[in-house]
Symmetry: C2
Subunit: 233 residues, 2 copies
DNA sequence: TATAATTAGTCTTGTATAAGTATTGATGTA
DNA sequence: TACATCAATACTTATACAAGACTAATTATA
C-alpha cells in the first residue's frame, strides 16, 4: 500500500532535518514551493507541515514562514530539566563539574541503545541550584553515534541542544521512571549529603526524531527545596 | 474579531459533551451532518473534529464514526495512575480503604480550586499492589461542584471515570509536582512502614475540559518495588 | 450460510480566498 | 541631503469548501 502523499512529504522533510541539510532555525520552503518541488498541491504540502508542527519539529507563523524548531537552553530546559521552585519559577541550574569517559557498554546499555553499541561515552555531572548541589546525573550515549564527543570537553550545559547542533540528533521525547530512594553512595559523595537522605531518582530513555533510543540518563536529585514538575495529558 | 468557524464548531461540541448531552461513548454526528447542522462545510466540521481528537476528547475511526472518548478504569489508569512494575507491566491497584468527609476549605484550596469553594469534600484512600499498601492519597474537590458526592460511598475505584459518569466533569490534563521525602507521620501509619522510609510525593492539580482546576490530590507512594512512569514530549 | 451490494462514515487531495508580515519605494519635511 | 512616514505589493500561512477515494458495517440475495 502506498502511503498518503502528505506522509511522503513529511518523511522527506524529516530526512532533511535529520541529515542537517535543514539546520536548526532554517526556513523551510513555502507551502507553494514545497508542493511544486515535490509534485503535490499546496494543500498537501500544508498538511505535512502542520503535522510536523504538531510534533514540535517545526514552527510556523502566518505571514513569515515555517522554521526548524530552535532548541535553546531555555526551551530544552523547559522540556527536559524540570526542577522548579515551589512557586513554579525556575533559576538556571549551574554545572558544578563534569567528567567524560569512554568505556565498554554494559549488556543492558547495548540492548537499550540504538545500534547496539560496543562502546559508549559516559557523561557524569553535578548541577546546582541556588549555590547548592542538587542533581547528580550520568548520561550514556553510543560512541559510534557521537564520534569525537569525548574530545570536546567541556560540553555545553544542555546536552540536547548540543546533540542537535553538533550531530543533528534531535531529541523529541523521552520515557522516565521515577522513584524515591535513600541516596546512593556515589551520589551522596557528589552532592555532599549524609547517607540515608531521600532523593528523587529519574531513569530516562531519550528518543530522537527517527525514533531511536539515543541516550540513557540516570539522575538523583534533592527535592527538599525544589519540585520535579510534570504536565500530563 | 469573529473566531474561525471551526472553533465555533469545536466549542459547540465541547459544550454538548460537558453538559452531558453527548455522554461518554456516544457517537457524534458525521462530518457531513455536523456541517449541515451548523451551516459549515464538511471540511470545516472535519477540522474541528480532528482538533478535538488531538486533545483526546473524541476518538475517530475511519468507516465507523466519531465517538466521545470513553474513560474506562484502564485508560484512566494509564493516564493518571502510573505506578509500574520495573519491567513496565502493571497490575490493577486494589483499594484498601477510603474515608470521605466534608469540611471547610483551607485558604490555599479556596485559591486553587475552581469556584473558590467554602466547603470541600476530602477523599482519603490507601491503594495496594501485590498485596502490599503502596499509596496513600488525599483528594480534595469542591463540594458545590460535586453535590451529594459524600453520600455515595463507597466511591468507585477510579475517581476520574466517576466524575465524568456522574457529574460530566471530564479531566483532560494535570500538573504534577514530584518530590522525594521521608514518609509523613500520617502516611507511615497508613502504609505500615517505619518512620524515615523514603516515599515519592505527588501533588497534582487536575484540570477539566473547561479548563477548571477541579481536584487537588496529594499522594505518597512506596517506590522500592514500583516506578512512577512518565512520558514527556 | 456465504457472498455481493449498499450505505454511511472518515480520509485524501485540490483549489480559492482571506489575513498576516516584511520590504520597497514614494513622499513630505527638517 | 537626510530622515521619518505611509501606502503599495509581494511574499507567507490560515481558513473554507468541494470532490472523490477508502473503509467498515449492514442488508439483500443466491
Amino acid at each position: 500500500m502506498a502511503p498518503p502523499l502528505y506522509q511522503v512529504v513529511m518523511n522527506t522533510i524529516v530526512d532533511r532535518i535529520a541529515s542537517g541539510s535543514l539546520p536548526s532555525g532554517a526556513m523551510l520552503p513555502s507551502e507553494t514551493q514545497l508542493g511544486a518541488e515535490l509534485g503535490v498541491s499546496q494543500g498537501t504540502a500544508r498538511k505535512a507541515l502542520m503535522e510536523l508542527e504538531a510534533r514540535g519539529l517545526v514552527q510556523r507563523v502566518q505571514g513569515r514562514g515555517t522554521f526548524v524548531t530552535v532548541r535553546t537552553p531555555e526551551t530544552s530546559l523547559f522540556n527536559f530539566f524540570r526542577l522548579r521552585n515551589p512557586d513554579g519559577t525556575l533559576e538556571s541550574p549551574r554545572l558544578e563539574w563534569e567528567t567524560v569517559r569512554r568505556r565498554a557498554a554494559t549488556p543492558e546499555e547495548r540492548a537499550e541503545l540504538f545500534g547496539r553499541p560496543e562502546s559508549v561515552i559516559e557523561i557524569e555531572r553535578v548541577r546546582s541550584l541556588a549555590q547548592r548541589p542538587v542533581t547528580h546525573e550520568v548520561s550514556v550515549v553510543s560512541a559510534a553515534l557521537f564520534p569525537g564527543l569525548a574530545d570536546r570537553v567541556p560540553l555545553p550545559n544542555t546536552l540536547y541542544v548540543f546533540y542537535q547542533q553538533a550531530y543533528s540528533v534531535i531529541i523529541v521525547r523521552a520515557d522516565e521512571r521515577l522513584s524515591a530512594h535513600a541516596v546512593s553512595e556515589a551520589s551522596a559523595k557528589a552532592l555532599g549529603v549524609p547517607a540515608g537522605t531521600p532523593v528523587l531518582e529519574v531513569r530516562r530513555r531519550a528518543i530522537d526524531v527517527l525514533d531511536r533510543v539515543v541516550e540513557l540518563r540516570s539522575s538523583q536529585s534533592l527535592t527538599d527545596q525544589h519540585d520535579y514538575f510534570v504536565s500530563v495529558s
